[in-house]
């Protein structure tokens, strides 16, 4: 289905389908593009995102790989250097550590280390996050680590529209881009706005305008944060602005700082572990750039510092939740 047709259809689509549609569009529109990863083909992707693509584009361009994360991510880097436009799916961020050397020391570094000669137009997609009782080794939120790496762009589509329209500009980027898809979003469903088009990868998005406090978040935490904003309005007469970072590197300081300058208060919501997470960078930047505008210390609502446990009540307690966001916002305004 082309973007044009997407614009005209009104049936709801899921986040999963939106991402699949973005890949189909890319595969159909540019022969340099191919998808590679574990079980992206015959299995249809561990989360069903690439279902049907191997039938449509064949096993060369929708390529199942062995369990060799460092090997096939590195191969994606080489193919990108050679002029192709690989989309490498690392099934989940939990397994990406095995490929981190390739991502940091090659993908992010070769352009600079070669004095501008070697470009790596590579897109890496991975599922991230907790919340489905998958336990410690399958519940990581490590976006903050990737956002620490110079040379890489990091995206966290949190809406249907971003899932559908971030891939094209990511593929157009001459340098490496990593896309984090929160596992809890795949079944998110809705109708794509008819006028939707390629996303500006340099800007965060205000998902709910407000005047009393800025709630800054991204990815899988956007829903909880919007819910918290509604509760703050309904139950506490607090008008919260919700900022979706969207692009985790480079951060859109203008939007974030601009919001805080208006509201004078901020809460950062991040599923990652608190210490040394992305939340720390956002908090540090706010106090660096808006120190004299702040009426209260920046609050952080983050994942508890524990390997995510399996048991439902423990896992829920380990993750940011609406009541915690509401409480933090009330501390900030109170």
């Amino acid at each position: 289905m082309t973007k044009a047709r997407a614009a005209h259809q009104a049936e709801p689509v899921t986040y999963r389908e939106a991402m699949r549609e973005a890949m189909r569009e890319a595969l159909a529109g540019d022969e340099r593009v191919f998808l590679m990863g574990e079980d992206v083909g015959r299995y249809g992707g561990a989360f069903g995102v690439s279902l049907g693509l191997v039938e449509e584009f064949g096993p060369q361009r929708v390529r199942d790989t062995p369990l060799s994360e460092s090997g096939f991510v590195g191969a994606g880097i080489g193919a990108a250097i050679a002029g192709l436009r690989p989309i490498v799916e690392v099934m989940t961020v939990n397994f990406s550590l095995l490929a981190l050397d390739q991502i940091l020391n090659n993908a992010a570094t070769l352009l600079h280390m070669s004095g501008g000669q070697v470009s790596v137009p590579l897109v890496i997609r991975m599922t991230t996050g907790a919340g489905r009782q998958l336990a410690a080794q399958h519940s990581h939120s490590l976006e903050g680590w990737y956002a620490h790496i110079p040379g890489i762009r990091v995206l966290a589509p949190a809406t249907l529209e971003d899932a559908r329209y971030m891939l094209a500009p990511a593929l157009a980027d001459p340098d490496p881009v990593i896309i984090f898809e929160h596992g809890s979003l795949y079944n998110l469903s809705g109708v794509l706005p008819p006028d939707a088009g390629p996303v500006d990868l340099d800007s965060a998005a205000v998902r709910r305008p407000g005047s009393d406090i800025s709630l800054i978040t991204s990815g899988g935490s956007l829903g909880k944060t919007l819910e918290a904003a509604e509760q703050l309005a309904a139950d506490h007469h607090v008008d919260a602005e919700v900022v979706d970072l969207r692009t985790l590197r480079p951060l859109d300081d203008a939007t974030v700082i601009g919001s805080v300058r208006r509201t004078h208060r901020a809460v950062i919501v991040d599923e990652g572990w608190r210490t040394g997470g992305l939340s720390a960078e956002v908090a540090a930047r706010i106090t660096e750039h808006a120190f004299y505008d702040l009426d209260a210390p920046v609050e952080r609502v983050c994942g508890a510092e524990v390997p995510v446990p399996y048991a439902a009540q423990l896992e829920q307690a380990a993750l940011p939740q609406v009541p915690g966001i509401v409480a933090a916002a009330r501390r900030a305004v109170g």
């Binding site: 574990e38 079980d39 083909g41 015959r42 299995y43 249809g44 561990a46 199942d64 062995p66 369990l67 060799s68 994360e69 460092s70 090997g71 939990n94 397994f95 095995l98 489905r132 009782q133 998958l134 336990a135 410690a136 080794q137 399958h138 508890a304 510092e305 524990v306 390997p307 446990p309 399996y310 048991a311 439902a312 009540q313 423990l314 307690a317 380990a318």
Partner: protein
């Protein structure tokens, strides 16, 4: 024939029952049949519990692969160590981890073998030297090499048995571990549970060289294959390999060809396998294979089988009942076990 109370004890303890004479042979085979049945019925209940929403997360069944769990564990002694994957219910049960503790773990209870923190993929029981339950494919291999290294350095004649899948062999960690084990002559028994698929990827699309025993042999370690559906063949191969490892002959590699009758996990619609292929393999169901043989050679009849089924059902009923009584861990204890509390505190 007597049901034999022995059969509910750890498989490990059974390894010391010497097999001599017909009666003993029959009792031993019956114990293994019972253990395979027990694992099968245990996992069938897991399916029900999952459908009922009592178990969540990823659940990987070994239905069809029971001969691997039961056969391999015949060769292991209590002092040996076991490291395995997320597809480990069978290995845990065969090792003697009580069914109740495994049920409780999957139900997320504090009485679970990992206090409900691990779930289906992360069963641990250090009292039985059962070291998990690893969710990162091939991630347990280097750890197993380290357990074996410790025994080697301390001169202990123990075996560390590491079980993993065919997919794991493609990971760099397999390679690094195989080389370290062979280079340092570690008392490590590498058991590849080759069920011909890594999720939806068939063996021939994972590996250029699909003879995994040959690949392992290239590191300079003893390696051979056995029929992973025939528990007697598995037991024989495992005993031979474990003895050699225990006697200081260095690491050994076993490739056990088997097949999972169910999908990769509860999430898997299993679109990639031809139904006829699955049916063909079901003709070689490890439980039927042994039962048929015992009917012929050990005079087992339907009544014996039904008796076994009844015993297993009774044990599992009781275990599940008990497991359901287990308490949920209070959220106040969330941060427990992140680090060991300083002496004197808790």
């Amino acid at each position: 024939m007597t049901p034999g109370k022995k059969t509910v004890e750890p498989a490990a303890s059974r390894t010391r029952t010497r097999v001599s004479g017909e009666g003993a042979r029959t009792a031993h085979r019956q114990a293994m049949l019972r253990e395979m049945l027990r694992i099968r019925r245990f996992e069938e209940r897991c399916v029900e519990l999952y459908s009922a929403g009592d178990i969540r997360g990823f659940v990987h069944l070994c239905i069809g692969e029971e001969a691997v769990s039961v056969g391999v564990h015949q060769a292991l002694a209590p002092e040996d160590a076991v490291v395995t994957t997320y597809r480990e219910h069978g290995h845990a049960l065969a090792r003697g981890v009580p069914a109740e503790a495994v049920f409780a773990e999957m139900l997320g209870r504090v009485t679970g073998c990992s206090r409900g923190r691990g779930g289906s993929m992360h069963l641990f029981d250090v009292s039985r030297r059962f070291y998990g339950g690893h969710g990162i494919v091939a991630g347990g291999l280097p750890v197993a090499a380290g357990l074996a290294l410790a025994d080697r350095m301390r001169g202990l004649e123990r075996v560390t048995c590491c079980l993993f899948g065919d997919g794991a062999v493609a990971e760099g960690e397999f390679h690094e571990t195989a080389n370290l084990a062979a280079l340092w002559d570690l008392p490590l028994l590498l058991v590849c549970e080759n069920n011909l698929y890594a999720m939806g990827t068939a063996l021939s699309r994972e590996h250029a060289q699909t003879d995994l025993a040959a690949r392992a042999a290239s590191y300079g370690m003893a390696a051979w294959e056995a029929d992973g559906m025939d528990v007697l063949a598995v037991e024989q191969a495992a005993r031979r390999a474990a003895r050699a490892v225990r006697d200081g002959a260095g690491p050994h590699f076993l490739e056990l060809r088997t097949y999972r009758f169910r999908a990769h996990s509860m999430y898997d619609p299993d679109r990639y396998r031809d139904k006829a292929e699955v049916e063909r393999w079901k003709q070689r169901d490890p439980i039927t294979l042994l039962a048929t043989r015992m009917r012929g050679e050990d005079g087992m009849d339907d009544a014996d089988l039904e008796a076994l089924e009844r015993e297993v059902a009774a044990e599992l009923d009781a275990a599940l009942e008990q497991a359901r009584q287990g308490a949920a861990e209070p959220v106040e204890d969330l941060l427990r076990y992140v680090r060991t509390p300083p002496e004197g505190t808790s």
